[in-house]
């Protein structure tokens, strides 16, 4: 017994020593940087490109490693593990963030303010799409650089459309056109008395539908949630009709079930390829997945709207962790993201659009060799990002993940028939506004900002009521700014 115990003790000590000794930090001569991102072939190639770029720049080598252990696919609010590790002082040196996560992590103080270094190092927001600058900038400070940009659009499978004799959707199509096409497709693919196996589209994105009616999640200054607006109720009613009455699209749960793979949406892509989804609502990166499923004849069209044309634009941003010990090297990586080899690489593979807009107009982007079937869609994506892409809406007074969860839960509750659309809209707005009130009360740092924004909001409301234009600087929501501009509600701006 004693001997067994000692053998175990010895063996474990040895094994632990071995494990420690084989940690990358112990073995690598170069500084080891961790990049919290998905571990796929593209990221690995990015790392290789980065190392080549460093060498060409005459910079010392950096051991950049991908850490995907903290990422949870499919959790909408992002990964709690990244947040938890981050606030504990153990984050990755480079962190992949979405718009929503950026605000949350910045709020927690986890992200490094890059404003000054970015100007010096040539990776400031001047380099990227104007519509997407707000994604990286909070309170005038820059917190990252995109490794890719782009919009979500509606992909369609031409083979499926032809099989059921559906006309191509028109370039600026509307809710009614969507409904009409969808009804025809669902009727043709799902004969009565059989179980439904095909849907017209995999999902819709409620904020885009709301924006089509000129409604954002919050008011102009982010001080109040406006989802109890009659327009929000109209959107909810449409979603209910499309999901439950017409069965044009699966519910979120059904969609998750269809995308049965825990690691992503691969099954949705497979179903799209086999014609069980006529359309997919997704970014350009979907083409990489679809490529593996054969030579599909792809079309893409902007999201259907009822009035104001728009598409949700977003960055895949890389931010630098505030607790990093390798700031200089991490910034070199962001610099690398502006470089020609990297942008051409993104342009070629189509993992969304390259961060520097010029490369999304390049030959490498428009006409990738061997992917003739994507040429047309690529142009649509590039144009849409420049013309109708608008970044995500957040409010500094409520955590995006909370707002998202509340919105989502109420939509689900409405779809399961627990509450009416009116109730869902009311509850969503009330709960989000409660959260805003609580947050402002608890966080002294937010109080002056909130008071100031409140005052501006009153002025905006007064001017709007009087039919007078509003200064652009007053509006912090990217969508409402664009909407006001389109409606001619802004004061004359100085020509840039």
């Amino acid at each position: 017994m004693k001997r067994i115990f000692l053998i175990f003790l010895g063996g474990l000590t040895l094994a632990a020593g071995l494990l420690y000794w084989t940690l990358p930090e112990q073995r690598s001569g170069a500084p080891v940087l961790y990049w919290a991102t998905q571990n796929d072939a593209n990221k690995r190639e990015t790392v290789a490109l980065f190392q080549g770029w460093l060498a060409r720049q005459g910079l010392p080598p950096v051991d950049l490693r991908i850490d995907n252990a903290g990422l949870e696919a499919g959790s909408p609010g992002g990964s709690p593990k990244v947040l938890v590790q981050g606030v504990a002082g153990m984050g990755g040196d480079l962190i992949d963030v979405s718009t929503y996560q950026l605000e949350m992590y910045q709020d927690a103080g986890m992200l490094m303010d890059l404003t000054d270094d970015a100007h010096r190092g040539g990776f400031s927001t001047d380099m990227i799409y104007p519509a997407l600058r707000g994604d990286l900038v909070l309170d005038g400070r820059q917190y990252g650089f995109p490794r890719q940009s782009g919009v979500d659009m509606c992909w369609y499978n031409r083979a499926t459309f032809e099989r059921y004799r559906l006309p191509d959707p028109s370039p600026h199509w509307t809710w009614d056109e969507f409904e009409e096409l969808g009804r025809r497709f669902v009727a043709a693919t799902n004969p009565p008395g059989t179980r439904q196996r095909s849907y017209f589209i995999d999902r819709v994105w409620p904020p885009v539908l709301r924006r089509g009616l000129g409604l954002s999640t919050y008011n102009e200054t982010g001080t109040r949630c406006t989802l109890d607006d009659p327009r929000a109720i109209e959107v909810l009613k449409r979603i209910y009709r499309w999901t439950i009455d017409e069965r044009l699209m699966p519910t979120q749960q059904e969609q998750q079930a269809l995308a049965s793979d825990a690691t992503g949406q691969n099954s949705a892509f497979a179903l799209f390829a086999t014609g069980r989804f006529a359309m997919l609502y997704e970014g350009l990166w979907a083409s990489m997945e679809l490529r593996r499923l054969g030579d599909l004849r792809l079309g893409a069209v902007e999201p259907f709207t009822a009035g104001f044309r728009n598409a949700l634009a977003g960055n895949g941003t890389v931010a630098i962790y505030a607790g990093t010990r390798h700031r200089a090297q991490a910034e070199q990586f962001l610099q690398f993201l502006t470089s020609k080899p990297y942008n051409l690489f993104v342009a070629r593979i189509g993992d969304s659009l390259p961060p520097v807009p010029a490369y999304a107009r390049s030959e490498a982007y428009f006409h990738p060799a061997g992917q003739r079937n994507e040429w047309e869609a690529r142009k649509v994506f590039s144009d849409a990002t420049r013309e109708i892409g608008i970044g995500g809406t957040t409010s500094p007074f409520v955590l995006p993940i909370l707002a998202f969860r509340i919105d989502n839960e109420n939509i689900e509750a409405m779809l399961t028939g627990l509450i009416s659309p009116e109730e869902a809209a009311r509850t969503t707005a009330r709960r989000i506004n409660d959260e805003i009130a609580r947050r402002v009360r608890q966080d002294p740092k937010l109080q002056p900002l909130y008071a100031e924004r409140k005052k501006i909001q009153e002025q905006i409301d007064a001017r709007r009521a009087a039919g007078r234009p509003v200064p652009a600087a007053w509006i912090s929501d990217p969508f409402l700014l664009a909407y006001y501009r389109a409606q001619g509600w802004l004061e004359k701006e100085a020509a840039p």
């Binding site: 606030v87 927690a108 103080g109 749960q253 825990a262 607790g323 689900e412 509750a413 608890q442 966080d443």
Partner: protein, 494 residues
């Protein structure tokens, strides 16, 4: 002076042995406990109080707890937690059944291990070989046959050890892995469950279409008959236990309510107003109680008002679901012909509000049958003295009598322990399974309290509020455990 010194010496010796453990206990249990208790009274928020932002922490008194009382999510999640715990009696019954069966299987080994290994290997190899060759649909049945044959062979050769191992299989697989697996099994489009259910339901659809009357009238009548039988048996048992002074007033009321609840639910499903449903159910229960109370008690008064409550509770947990199923049968039957017009669909297990919780319960049940509970029951069965059974045989006791009068009472401490642990774990549980399979959805149908604590604490970072929820949960667990120790144990061991 001397004995005092000896006491001190003894204390030091005892402490010395305990110390390594006690240090860990203090560091990882007591200190965090105190900390978390303190945190529950603050506005600790991971966003504002962390490595990078050090803002003053505010003592907020009872604010977190007051907010909790008015938090609809908290009450919803509490309800979900209790709902999911309804699977516990089934799991316990399953474990006991499995343990009983396992002890009945002959434990005589007729062959040595190598022989067993060789046979199994050959079977599996031939199965895989055919798989490789690519058999079409029939290949599945061949595969099942292969599996069954090898399990049977191994079972016979090892005297049942294989069964025990296989029952225990879900317990030594990581929980998350089995949940991911079940998520795929439940998939309404590609999962085998609905794939298997679809033809059955199609059959049912055509049956309903051809003879709607059988379902409109037949099914409810059969269900009503069965329900009447169950109720009758329960009433008779209640009365005889009362007359025999085996149960007190509390047990009587519990038993009567068990019968009243399904009735009330059925009435409300049928469209009667809440008041009517509750009224009818309550008056039914009242009539039962009053008429029973009037019966003579030749053996004198029960020991106390709560005598027999544990047994009654255990039985209620078993008969309540049964009655509910029968009530559902009465209710669903007449609705079936209308449903059959468009085809009866298999449920969207994890996606529908109504089915998500039962789906999770079934997974837990599947995992719990062969778990440690079964092992505990096996140990318990092993320690029952054979003389008791021999004596019962001499008295000519039937199998049922042997079970109810020897096995069940002898296992009472084990049942009690499993039950207490099950309730404690159940109230704290549901996080992993919901996180993996449904992310708490749809519309929060599977969010349990533990899930809520996690999402408050680590998704939105409000550690203070999360701690407050955790302590309220602790208070509930503690109250339940006290109740259990107060009533359950004594009555189960009657």
């Amino acid at each position: 002076m001397k004995p005092r010194e000896r006491t001190l010496r003894r204390w030091f010796t005892g402490m010395a042995f305990l110390l390594p453990n006690l240090l860990g206990f203090c560091a990882f249990t007591l200190v965090p406990l105190a900390l978390s208790f303190a945190m529950a009274f603050t506005d600790w928020d991971i966003m504002r109080h962390n490595q990078f932002r050090h803002e003053p922490l505010h003592f907020t008194g009872l604010e977190n707890f007051i907010r909790l009382l008015g938090d609809p999510q908290f009450w919803r999640d509490l309800g979900n937690t209790f709902y999911l715990m309804l699977g516990l009696p089934f799991a316990m019954a399953g474990s006991l059944g499995a343990a009983l069966l396992l002890t009945r299987v002959s434990r005589r080994r007729t062959a040595v291990l190598p022989a067993l290994a060789a046979t199994t290997l050959v079977l599996i190899a031939s199965g895989l070989g055919l798989l490789w060759g690519g058999m079409a649909e029939s290949g599945v049945w061949f595969l099942f046959g292969m599996l069954a044959a090898s399990v049977l062979l191994a079972g016979v050769l090892t005297g049942g050890t294989v069964y025990r191992t296989l029952f225990y299989l879900p317990s030594f697989t990581s929980g998350v892995a089995t949940y991911v697996l079940w998520k795929k099994l439940y998939n309404p489009h590609s999962g085998p469950i609905n794939f298997g259910l679809a033809p059955v339901l199609d059959r049912l659809t055509s049956l309903v279409r051809t003879s709607p009357d059988a379902f409109t009238y037949g099914l409810p009548v059969i269900c009503a008959g069965l329900a009447a039988a169950v109720v009758g048996w329960q009433v008779r048992r209640l009365r005889s236990r009362w007359s025999g002074s085996e149960s007190g007033l509390a047990a009587m009321v519990t038993g009567a309510l068990t019968l009243g609840i399904p009735l009330g639910l059925l009435l409300s499903w049928q469209g009667f107003s809440m008041i009517v449903a509750v009224g009818v159910a309550a008056s039914g229960a009242a009539v039962l109680i009053v008429t029973t109370l009037r019966r003579p008690r030749p053996w004198g008064r029960a020991r106390s008002a709560d005598a027999g409550l544990g047994t009654e509770f255990a039985l209620a947990m078993l008969s309540l679901p049964l009655l509910l199923v029968l009530a559902a049968g009465i209710h669903v039957g007449p609705a079936l012909p209308a449903l059959a017009v468009s085809g009866i669909e298999p449920p969207d297990w994890l996606g529908s509000y109504a089915w998500a919780k039962p789906a999770l319960m079934m997974v837990s049940l599947w995992a719990a049958i062969g778990s440690n509970n079964m092992i505990l029951y096996l140990a318990g069965l092993g320690s029952i003295s054979p003389e008791l059974y021999e004596a019962a045989d001499m008295d000519g006791a039937s199998a049922g009598q042997r079970f109810w009068h020897i096995t069940w009472p002898q296992l009472a401490p084990v049942t009690f322990f499993i039950g207490v642990m099950g309730i404690i774990n159940g109230m704290q549980g549901g996080f992993e399974v919901a996180r993996t399979m449904t992310a708490g959805g749809p519309a929060g149908a599977t969010t349990t309290l533990s899930y809520y604590i996690f999402s408050e604490g680590f998704e939105t970072g409000r550690l203070g509020y999360a701690s407050a929820i955790a302590w309220v949960l602790f208070a509930l667990v503690f109250a339940f455990s006290l109740l259990n120790f107060r009533f359950g144990n004594r009555d189960l061991s009657d």
